[in-house]
Symmetry: C2
Subunit: 412 residues, 2 copies
């Protein structure tokens, strides 16, 4: 994170309640329209701005892109980064559904725009759930109308629940950013919870702010904050067809974000996104422990990220952490196969702050102490490459038998 | 495999008993020297040639290379590809053991050479087991002398058992290659069983032949056969500090392998290696099913291998197969994130011979039939990219709760 922190801060950040509608100018609604089989389970949310908002988005890098991703990309091209709402359903991903799927995703935007009095292209679309199944439009369309007629400032919590699939808990967070010339808010919600990494895997994330930002600067803040938050987490190295991260800026706080105040917006986005991203990892399928892998003294930030990601994704490291086994050998082996070149004789590994491997040799006498620390629900792995000054952190989780159970039974 | 099969075969291949000592000119011995705690558990093997043999080897690409790997590489440089024996222990990897470890690995060769009457550099060394622990030389050295004094043609089975760690069964195989001008044999043994892929992961493999081959041609046959066998398998995407694959050619059959007869040697190596490699996957930690992922109609063989490997390593695909869930969506998503560019609208997926996805759209009516086939212990996944004529197969296994149990408890 260090490389994006400004050296001098002219602002303070404090937590705020209210989630996605904590910033002024936004309303949300969530309903059960019947895509999810469970009676009453929220499965449709609309997030709308009172007037118009700058919009930005990042999408999955998977070649197999779901219909809502393709439609949202096209709408952003047409609307020039100015829109009025996002409509999102859970329970069905509308992925691998061909031209029918594209028509259905476009219709989700159409129906929302109709109710809100804007252009269809000013509405973005997201879906999450089972792949290869068509949307039940006879249920979804009435649901959209019901949601659009119940938009309110207080519905953020319901919206955060409506986007969940196998998530064990909803994820929302908001912060207030105080600058010398006034304050603005950043709100957010997200869902996981398998297929996380790299670059947006079945993850949906939504950020709102009442700062006034151009679409270009909003896109930059989204990209730069995602690098060290949503794109710095991994549950199982998978990457899905539907991953999307959206940002909307209402401008209603009156605070204008220019180049000078950009660091304040970025820090606000980082603060909200970090909390949401860590929530996704903590709620990872079958996860019992959060693993923070920090690589320091790397030649470049990319090198640090690559080594950290390889360690965080290693099944052998993940199972060792699950079993509270201070197995530095697996960490060394994962670093060694990461593709990054370094001198193994200068490699150092700390587990939970305990030095276990130094300059190519183990400190096994410290293993029992490290094993104790590994019993906690957060595990810090720190690796020094001895090759430079760059650093990066990747957050992952342990691999449990529960992950196998969830994913062996999810669809059938 | 298709791209290495000669169009016209001038030879036949038949299975042979006798494992690593099936080819003439080789003797083996295995003893319990005490590196493994269990009383009587074989943990040291010596494989020797009656006179001298051409030698070749492939080693782990991990930056963290164990002492036996470093010593064997040096010996191969010095001996010019002519040697007399390989000494190997299980139970201790002699990895991350610094200069002491290097001295111990070199001494394993010294003691073996002393008994066999050759130069230390004519002996190669391999170790497998726990990382970061020193070899108990007071047990190992007497073990080497005991083994060297009991070398015999009939000990191949014991040698295959002596190299096992968490392997559930020993892996050995031999074939006879009949050519128009006489026959030769190829024998082999290998151990897995976690950390398999890519490019030699805690795997030890040994091939012998009584054909007469130059070290250069032997190295080529080893490299080319490994590409589609030992390097085409994956258990968990890990790659270890000790992986080594060795080949020795005694020449005692009198059959000289020149460029013209090279295809016969390659096919012999492929036949023996394929059997050993599939044994490693079948014996993968916690594996209950063998998964053969074949990618066809790719632009290049490298593209085909990359897509197949991504699918075979996907935790979501592996858990779906474990649960007998015909989840083609996870296969499509894994192909889409593999980094290989193709048109998703031309993608086709067969599971167990059943067409489940064609040109971007699902055939879900076939899912129940595919689910039945998935209950077997071998699962064929076939993906067509619609981009060219190249093909490749990667073998993997399912991911079970047992994998988590084994790897969460291995070291402690």
């Amino acid at each position: 994170m260090a490389d994006v922190m400004p050296s001098t801060r002219h602002f303070t950040i404090t937590p705020l309640s209210g989630g996605i509608t904590a910033p002024t100018g936004f309303r949300a609604a969530a309903v059960h329209c019947g895509i999810k089989a469970t009676a009453g389970a929220l499965d449709l949310a609309v997030l709308a701005v009172d007037t118009f908002a700058s919009m930005a988005a990042l999408f999955t890098t998977n070649l197999a892109q779901a219909a809502p991703v393709l439609v949202s990309k096209r709408h952003l091209e047409v609307n020039g980064g100015v829109g009025c709402a996002i409509v999102v359903n859970s329970g069905c991903a509308n992925a691998c559904t061909g031209s029918n799927g594209l028509a259905n995703a476009a219709r989700m935007a159409d129906e929302t725009a109709l109710d809100l009095g804007c252009q269809p292209e000013q509405v973005l679309v997201a879906s999450t759930g089972v792949i290869g199944v068509g949307l039940q439009m006879d249920r979804l369309v009435p649901g959209i109308h019901e949601a659009c007629s119940s938009l309110a400032h207080g519905n953020a919590g319901d919206a955060a629940r409506a986007i969940m699939t196998t998530d064990p808990f909803p994820k929302e967070h908001a912060v207030r950013v105080e600058t010398s010339r006034g304050s603005f808010a950043v709100g957010g919600m997200a869902k996981g919870s398998g297929m996380i990494e790299p670059n947006m895997a079945t993850m949906l994330g939504f950020l709102t702010t009442d700062a006034r930002v151009t679409p270009a600067l909003l896109q930059r803040a989204l990209r730069e904050s995602a690098r060290d938050t949503f794109n710095a987490i991994t549950v199982d190295g998978e990457c899905s067809t539907n991953d999307s991260l959206f940002a909307m800026a209402s401008g209603t706080s009156g605070i204008v974000i220019d180049e000078e105040r950009y660091p304040a917006l970025l820090e606000g986005f980082l603060a909200a996104s970090r909390e949401l991203a860590l929530g996704i990892v903590r709620g990872g399928e079958g996860a019992t422990k959060l693993i923070a892998v920090t690589v320091r003294r790397a030649r470049t930030g990319d090198d640090a990220r690559q080594v950290a990601r390889t360690i965080a994704n290693s099944p052998l490291v993940k199972t060792a952490v699950h079993g509270a086994d201070p197995n530095w050998g697996r960490i060394v082996a994962a670093a060694g196969r990461s593709g990054v070149v370094f001198d193994i004789g200068r490699l150092t590994v700390h587990l939970g702050g305990i030095l276990l491997f130094e300059n190519g040799l183990p400190h096994d006498e410290a293993a029992p102490k490290a094993a104790e620390i590994l019993k906690g629900d957060t595990v810090d792995i720190e690796v020094h490459l001895g090759a430079g000054d760059a650093a990066a952190t990747i957050w992952g989780c342990d691999l449990s038998a529960e992950y196998v159970r969830i994913n062996g039974e999810y669809r059938t």
